[in-house]
Symmetry: C2
Subunit: 201 residues, 2 copies
């Protein structure tokens, strides 16, 4: 790989994060880069910024629902909003990092499974049970994954990741950092592509 | 022109609106479309959405300052944030519509002059005097423009425009409506371009 990995910050409950997840690896690979997937719990960040979830904002709520459907059509990926939305993503994030520290490929596969269950199947993946059951998709026994989610060290690991994200200026999902340069928003992947191609401007 | 004009909603105090203003006419023209420039006063809209100006949001404030500078470099246009920012844009909006109803070309030239003064020269164009003085740039005597700004009908005209914008779902700047299809954000011009090219998806 010809450079440092891109940092791909997102929340599992973020449709724009889900949409970006379908493009980011291939985009980075075209430039010889890997991607470090870094799920975070945006609720913690929103306490600092005062932001509220898009769907709860008058006018904007209607727009984003339309935009998510439109963007998924363009990308050719399924899209269904879970009935319970946004959903707490803490258990999924704990499972991700617990697995990440043992097997990066499986952790990424788990992240994709969570996104798929949430936004292709429309199931809020909020409870530890929901996440543990997805272990089967990535060859990890659900009871093993459940133990990882419940491990107090997983909680500490997530806290550190979120603190680091905030220290790096992350305030939304997706948020991509390329060689220290921050890009916010699902509609910025083409800009990230241009940045990687040109080396910046 | 081969279709209805695009509606280009923006606030004169919006850097993303300023940046989009440099691309929107040429983009539309490539598809045989005209553009109706529709400045609004976002403060009224923010009372509905509860939004606060970007620069006042922790973490996001730092990001947008960096993003505006970066986007302007890419576009090759000057960018300076006025010391007083955001600034109230009511007088500029009143002047715009007063002139628009007499001479669309001069009104657009005035809009460009306001944006240029605000974000190329870094001068908050908030007072009626500031706006009136820009009349000289578009061949309208400042005292004539001042009378237009002070005309109670201008105020009514602006209220109607803002009410219509809200009824159409406009909640930020820039906000572009193409044949009824809404696109929000300065980073959506390429998407508008693709939409016009393909006829939608």
């Amino acid at each position: 790989m010809g450079g440092a990995p891109l940092d791909f910050y997102f929340d599992f409950s973020s449709p724009y994060g889900y949409l970006a997840s379908h493009r980011i690896d291939e985009l980075a690979a075209r430039h010889g880069r890997d991607v470090e997937w870094r799920p975070i719990t945006l609720g913690v960040v929103f306490k600092i910024t005062g932001a509220v979830p898009h769907v709860q904002v008058p006018l904007k709520g209607d727009y984003v629902r339309r935009d998510w459907a439109r963007a998924s059509r363009r990308l050719g990926v399924p899209f269904t909003l879970p009935q319970k939305f946004p959903f707490p993503s803490g258990p999924a994030v704990r499972a991700y990092y617990w697995l990440r520290d043992q097997d990066a490929a499986k952790a990424r596969a788990l992240a994709k499974a969570v996104f798929h269950a949430a936004f292709a199947e429309g199931r809020a993946i909020s409870a530890a049970d929901d996440v543990a059951a997805l272990g089967e998709k990535v060859d990890v026994a659900p009871h093993t994954l459940m133990a990882g989610i419940a491990d107090p060290e997983s909680d500490e690991r997530v806290k550190n990741e979120v603190d680091t994200a905030i220290a790096r200026g992350v305030f939304g999902s997706p948020f991509i950092i390329v060689d220290g340069e921050p890009f916010f928003g699902g509609d910025r992947l083409d800009e990230v592509d241009a940045w990687l191609k040109s080396g910046g401007w």
